[in-house]
Symmetry: C2
Subunit: 203 residues, 2 copies
């Protein structure tokens, strides 16, 4: 097993603690003194490990996203049917929270970086595409096993699921209740049954 | 007709020009010097009209939102049928842009203010609720005229439309193409036909 150096450990701890503040306040809303307070380090102690605030924010985004993605794909491999796998993914999004406060890192960072910071914009676009591709693979595997209609556009299914959930999360966080997320969940489940699942009578 | 004082005119011009920068860079991402550059005024010239950056940002949000709302409800009263009215609303969201760059003010401000600024958070929550209520009224009027199923939950229809469109906008701005918005539009239109429109055979 690879041994972690003390410097590597400190770097990882800075990333984890910075992720908590960046994901709540945003890249621009997070000052150097916020980062110093969160990590308990002086400015020099932070910048010994990162070349810029931007580099730290990009690493913090990747860290927050890794946790969010693991949470949303939790136990997915235990669900054999691909339509049920998509439903479990949706339920995970609605029910499970990671240890990083502030909502979805993709939503937060996409909205902040779409007109701005190019490094963060690239990281969040890569995260969204990897997320979409995970859903696309589930749909493609389901089509192969005839659980999913052969004429379904896998990329469109993935895009509809992610956009409905992210938009609903925006409203849920504004209203401070889950109504919008629960509405999106039941809507998406009806959609998966009506338009995505292959029914035996169609063979 | 009410005459506008010179001070009132300057105040309105500051709001309009601040809206352009706030909607692209966010409240935190927008510095005093950004505001001075956008308005061509010194700090004192801006703060003669507003008690704080927060007050200016709140007024700028209301201004940007008013334009966005007008754009999305454009020509709606010319569409007699309520299901078609909802479709026109969706098409306006997908096709029409306001003069304020940076995407939807509700999405931008909700994501930034959900953990933060209480004044902005209140403004954006009010905007979302007024927006939802406009859609709720269209659905309720349609149910009365038997164009829409009597058992449809108007608030849920409104929430699903807004969340699908806002989430799709997030992806469209990240990808810099309209695919996600067009997918949301055709999905919502199928949903309106299948689950919302009253069909004569159901009477």
């Amino acid at each position: 097993m690879k041994q972690m150096t003390k410097g590597q450990k400190t770097r990882d701890r800075i990333i984890a603690e910075a992720a908590n503040v960046f994901n709540q306040r945003g890249f621009e809303g997070c000052s150097m003194s916020d980062l110093m307070a969160a990590t308990g380090l002086e400015k020099g102690g932070i910048y010994r490990h990162f070349s810029s605030k931007e580099e730290l924010a990009a690493e913090a985004f990747d860290y927050a996203w890794k946790l969010a993605f693991e949470t949303r794909t939790h136990d997915l491999e235990q669900v054999p049917n691909s339509v049920e796998k998509l439903k479990r993914f949706i339920a995970n999004f609605v029910e499970r929270r990671t240890s990083v406060p502030g909502g979805c890192p993709v939503l937060n960072t996409a909205v902040e970086a779409d007109d701005g910071n190019p490094l963060l914009r690239e990281r969040v676009r890569n995260a969204w595409r990897a997320w979409r591709d995970t859903l696309v693979e589930i749909v493609a595997a389901g089509a192969k096993r005839k659980e999913i209609r052969p004429d379904v556009d896998a990329k469109e299914v993935a895009t509809l699921i992610v956009s409905s959930l992210e938009g609903a999360l925006m409203i849920a966080r504004l209203e401070r209740n889950k109504d919008a997320l629960l509405a999106a969940q039941s809507h998406l489940c009806r959609y998966l049954e009506a338009e995505v699942r292959a029914h035996s009578h169609s063979h």
